[in-house]
Symmetry: D2
Subunit: 106 residues, 4 copies
Amino acid sequence: MPNDQVRDALRRFADERNWGQFHTPENLAKSISIEAGELLECFQWSSEPDLAHVREELADVFTYCLFLADRLGLDPNEIVLSKLEATRGKYPVEKSRDRSDRYDVL
Amino acid sequence: MPNDQVRDALRRFADERNWGQFHTPENLAKSISIEAGELLECFQWSSEPDLAHVREELADVFTYCLFLADRLGLDPNEIVLSKLEATRGKYPVEKSRDRSDRYDVL
Amino acid sequence: MPNDQVRDALRRFADERNWGQFHTPENLAKSISIEAGELLECFQWSSEPDLAHVREELADVFTYCLFLADRLGLDPNEIVLSKLEATRGKYPVEKSRDRSDRYDVL
Amino acid sequence: MPNDQVRDALRRFADERNWGQFHTPENLAKSISIEAGELLECFQWSSEPDLAHVREELADVFTYCLFLADRLGLDPNEIVLSKLEATRGKYPVEKSRDRSDRYDVL
């Protein structure tokens, strides 16, 4: 995540436009929040959104996340698995099964 | 994105806790916005954040994006590449090079 | 909104700490998104949140909105009423009654 | 905040359209995040945004905050001042002057 093909396609897209100058980590973090808001807009008044629209907005969130990971030299697969291990420690199965509470109130 | 190992690890993590009941598309979309806000918080007052913190928050955004893609039967690689093609059409190289303007003002 | 008492209390609070240097419009806009995410977190897994928590997080969103309005010389009452007039034009009663659709699909 | 005129105008606007059915606290919290993202978009690639646009987007955030406060029976002035007192306790002037650090690292 991404496979190399996706990462390379995104790099090439930005390079052709010389957009690295705009893709500072801070601008990318803002962009992720902005796109997350557009994704949420699909669910603003209903829990049954238009799937084609969700698909596009989710793609935008992924795209900026991938740009930020690449910019910071982070491997998306690695950071997700590593965070999952930490989360596993905070949410032991026996305590968290069938519960949505935060670890600090479990 | 994810490779199968990551997708399977996330599925197993949620299944062990029986969290599918909480992972509705709407709740996952809210979660993506919430985590995007936590990522942005790393940059609230400075453009030079603590990298270890950014890494964790970015992992959280990715994680909920992956849960949502899996829930909706979407392939992250496929939707990113497909959206990139659409974006390519809106931002031709000759018009968008060195510019951060939106396509509708290019 | 705010009444003068609130605006003056916020100004004094920031001035005593010399925080005007951090309160650039951009940092305040980021702060509003961050706090909006914390407010949304009250509703992450349930539509029945803890009211005391909502109250605090909503206060934080208002606070940064007021800081931004003050920084930009905007009168909150005036901009809300002025935007409401524009929205009224986009959502005529006869078309928008009992509907949550956006104006462009009404 | 709001003065009575603003609160009454917002109530009348929603009542005429029978939009109370959509204005659940959860939907309003989502709406605040969505509008906060649109406000942030004004600052996506630059710290010098178009002021007329900021003004509109900030008005939208205020509007949904006011709807949520009204729905929950909260007085915006009161909750902001009350939260400010709590924040004052966490950020004593002598410790927080000229610093943007969070209270837990001061």
